[in-house]
Symmetry: C2
Subunit: 93 residues, 2 copies
């Protein structure tokens, strides 16, 4: 539950991506409620998953470039790397 | 872009799940905008992905139980199976 002070190059871009994915997911929900063909809904859910993968990748790159480099430079990388390893273990199954 | 007439057992449940995932994703977006720790955001994106996998699985089961069985009984399974195969190829990489 930590916040950090330093800037991330792509934060705004990631937030915009997540907003677009949210809109996409809303339309998938509406398609489903409207009885759209299951195969079509499945294709759209796959597209949402791919977009989330891309957002996560961008986030990870940002994190490596800023937080991790920053932590290493300040000699306090232990917790940052531990948290990141945990998140990666969870993300990439 | 086809709609179908027959009922799906879990449609309402799938729509509810998608609505919950949409809310979850909105909060992930807000966490990101608020500068929450990247590892924490990554964990939440992974949770959204898992929830989407579950929704897709439920959708698929519904589809098999209703559309596919229905199509086979009416002897017009070719298109339904072709679409489903395409969707599965896309969904499961």
């Amino acid at each position: 539950m930590e916040h950090h002070d330093h800037e991330h190059k792509h934060r705004k871009q990631i937030v915009n991506r997540l907003a677009r994915i949210e809109g996409h997911l809303r339309s998938v929900k509406e398609m489903t409620a409207g009885g759209r063909d299951c195969s079509e809904v499945l294709l759209q859910i796959a597209a949402v998953q791919k977009a989330l993968d891309k957002a996560a990748k961008l986030l990870l790159k940002d994190h490596l470039e800023s937080c991790v480099v920053d932590a290493v430079l300040h000699g306090n990388q232990e917790k940052v790397l531990e948290d990141l390893n945990k998140a990666l273990d969870n993300y990439i199954r």
